[in-house]
Amino acid sequence: MTFKQLETAQIEELQLMLEDEFPEFVRTFISHSDNLISLMKEQLSAQDNDAFIIGIHSLKGSCRNIGAELLANSCLEVELLARKESILSVDPELLTICQEFTELKETLSKLARI
Amino acid sequence: MTIVSHLSAAGDVMKIGIQGRFDFGSHHDFRETYDKTDSSIKEFHVDMAKTTYLDSSALGMLLLLRDHAGSDTVIKIINCNTDVYKIFEISNFDQMFDIIPAS
């Protein structure tokens, strides 16, 4: 089975390692990432650059850990933009991230059968 | 410090060369050189040509050699430079050993 958003090898290894804790993990990933994204939207409005960077950086990292390469790369681009202090131009990019994340959520949920 | 030893063809003269500092650290090596010898050795020649430094523990080690070799064996201390010779002079070791300065 291949997934558009996920590296097969990476996610399979996670499954192997976590065994029956995998569904719990997926739930945690989804809820924590959701949280991160809403926080980031707030930080954006408040123009809190530093906090935003921490948030997007964190999301990028956990995406890499589950093998969500596409989303991770998108996060990276946004992170770089924010670091160059072009925070205003982040807005549309964040939209893309939200969309990609929604798709990822679906794939993961199916995989974990939750 | 290195010790180089050499036994004559006839097996009766042992030459022991001390290279470097002859001090407390030399104790073990110096002793090992003569420890296994027996009364077949009639003479010991301790060669100081390359000895750079000598202190009271070295004098002590020579006394130990004298003790091991016995009073009938000749012990010559050869090729002493001025500093080394001076130490033997002050301690009057020429009364116990043949001290020969470097020519």
Binding site: S33 | N92, F93
Partner: protein, 572 residues
């Protein structure tokens, strides 16, 4: 951390999903974990849990990993708690920041279980190694402290033995600068019963406790014998004999002994193995007395020579003794204290009082320049003084011996082989020296005993004729004959009786010697001194000079000599 107790690893990660992953990974490898979600929590967790290794996320809210790592490293102190940064920062500058913040390594996301296992394992080995080294270092420090304490206690005993004497006398200045707790140099000084002083400087091979331990019997012998009026030659022979027995082969004592005679303004000196002893006279000349004997403890008694050098020394002249540690003294520039230079310095220096101060300064400078010296340093200056400056003869009675033995009788008889094998003179002398006031007359009493006993044996029992000793060849013949006859003794005896009685003026020592020989014609005794060309026969006239009376009784095989001494307070 014991074998059964696995490593405790602190995981600091703000992303909960990542945290779950890394926690599982580490736990699966058998380690215990503690979790924190930001820098501040991490520091608190460290304090509370004391983990062995820390996995630290770099970017976190509240406080980032760099700041947390810096603070934790301060808390860690000299222990070793490795910090491995968890990071998806990819540029080199950020990775350098990790290391600058005190990080020891980093792990990048995505997490790879093999890499994590390998890194934790490697650091685990380092942690164990570090702890072992620390424990061993602490153990060594503890033991070293203990040994030093032991030495300090032993030193108190040592000081009580080694420092009984008169080093505080006004005409002695000394500098003792030992390398460690124990001083391998021993400096002894004691007043003589007959006036004057004897000083002994010894430099044992090596330093510290093994060197100092030889000093204890030396000090006992020295003080005991000087107090009893023995001369430096006899004292040297005793010390050499003792050291020859107790010191292992290869260990010895370079020494110098000086007998200062204030009344005659003379010194007697023996130098075996020490640097030249220097004397600066009133004309400004510097004379040197180099070592002319082997150090003490090497030669057996029969080969040992106590021959001394004699010299005049006038009031105000000074003599300098030092052990060879002095050549290690360096000044700030690292220039060594030169011995030849010192003799030169002595010669040039017009003010004698400055000399000692100069050496003290060198010692101080040297101490500042290099914290650890290489050898014990000892330096002594003795000034010749007039007799009346130092306290009178009778002050020297040791406080432990204030009472002494003044009213007693002792007799001692030897037969045949004992006459051949045993010399009773030292024993008889030691007994008579139990009379404190006789110590000022040690030499005289020694000569008297010696003459009486020798006469009793040689002329009385062995029947040797002193006329044999008239020629030089005769001496050899005499001694050959003497040995032969000593080996053939049968039924002979020598009886010595010593008696001392006090009286209101002082005291009297009566010595009686009876031998079983056939005697001689007492009337043949010469009254005056013989011609100088005669090599013998001086005994009896000499005795008559030293003693109040010498009377031969009977057939000449009994002699009684009387030696009288007077209390000096009664002198008008």
């Amino acid at each position: 951390m014991s074998e059964s107790q696995q490593l405790k690893i602190l995981i600091t990660e703000d992303n909960i999903a990542d945290c779950l992953i890394i926690n599982k990974l580490v736990k699966d490898q058998g380690y215990r974990t503690v979790i924190a979600h930001n820098g501040l929590e991490s520091i608190e967790s460290y304090k509370k849990e004391k983990p062995d290794i820390i996995l630290m996320d770099a970017l976190m809210p509240q406080m980032d990993g760099f700041e947390a790592a810096k603070r934790i490293k301060l808390l860690v102190g000299e222990d070793f708690v490795p910090i491995i940064f968890l990071t998806s920062l990819s540029d080199d500058i950020s990775l350098v920041s990790c290391l600058e913040a005190g990080g020891d390594d980093f792990l990048s996301k995505p997490y790879n279980s093999i890499v994590i296992a390998a890194k934790i394992n490697a650091f685990k080995r380092m942690v164990v190694l570090h702890r072992t080294v620390q424990e061993q270092r602490d153990e060594i420090t503890r033991r070293n402290e203990y040994l030093l304490q032991e030495q300090k206690i032993a030193k108190r005993v040592f000081d009580n033995v080694a420092h009984l004497g008169c080093l505080g006398a006004p005409n002695i200045k000394h500098l003792l600068s030992p390398m460690s707790v124990f001083n391998g140099d021993v400096l002894l000084a004691s007043k003589k019963p007959s006036g004057g002083m004897i000083v002994f400087l010894g430099d044992f091979t090596g330093h510290g406790l093994p060197a100092a331990i030889g000093a204890m019997p030396v000090a006992e012998i020295f003080y005991g014998m000087v107090a009893k009026g023995f001369g430096v030659e006899t004292i040297l022979e005793e010390i050499n004999k003792k050291l020859h027995i107790i010191l292992p082969v290869g260990f010895f004592c370079c020494a110098c002994i000086i007998d200062m005679d204030y009344s005659w303004q003379r010194i007697k000196l023996w130098n075996g193995g020490l640097m030249d002893v220097l004397l600066k006279d009133n004309e400004g000349q510097v004379l040197s007395y180099p070592s002319s004997h082997l150090p003490l403890g090497i030669l057996s008694p029969d080969k040992f020579s106590s021959e001394c050098v004699n010299s005049d020394m006038k009031v105000g002249e000074r003599i300098y003794l030092f052990s060879d540690g002095i050549v290690d003294l360096q000044d700030k520039q690292g220039n060594e204290f030169e011995l030849d230079g010192f003799a030169g310095f002595l010669f040039e220096n017009k003010n004698p009082d400055e000399i000692f101060e100069h050496v003290i300064d060198q010692d101080k400078l040297s101490g500042e320049a290099n914290a650890e010296s290489n050898d014990d340093v000892t330096f002594v200056e003795i000034t010749m003084v007039a007799d009346d400056v130092i306290a009178g003869k009778h002050e020297l009675v040791e406080s432990s011996e204030q009472h002494g033995a003044r009213d007693w009788v002792m007799s001692f008889e030897m037969f045949d082989h004992t006459i051949r094998d045993f010399n009773p003179i030292p024993l008889m002398l030691h007994v008579t020296m139990e009379v404190p006031e006789l110590r000022a007359f040690n030499n005289d009493v020694c000569m008297i005993l010696s003459e009486l006993i020798t006469n009793g044996v040689d002329h009385g029992i062995l029947g040797l004729d002193s006329n044999l000793k008239i020629t030089a060849n005769g001496f050899q013949e005499y001694y050959n004959l003497r040995n032969a006859r000593l080996n053939q003794l049968s039924g002979e005896s020598l009886h010595i009786s010593l008696r001392h009685k006090p009286n209101k003026f002082g005291g009297v020592l009566i010595i009686r010697v009876v031998d079983t020989g056939s005697g001689f014609d007492v009337r043949k005794l010469n009254v005056g001194f013989p011609e100088m060309s005669q090599l013998s026969g001086r005994g009896i006239p000499l005795l008559r000079t030293l003693c109040e009376s010498v009377v031969y009784e009977g057939s000449g095989n009994t002699v009684e000599a009387v030696f009288r001494w007077k209390n000096t307070q009664d002198d008008t």
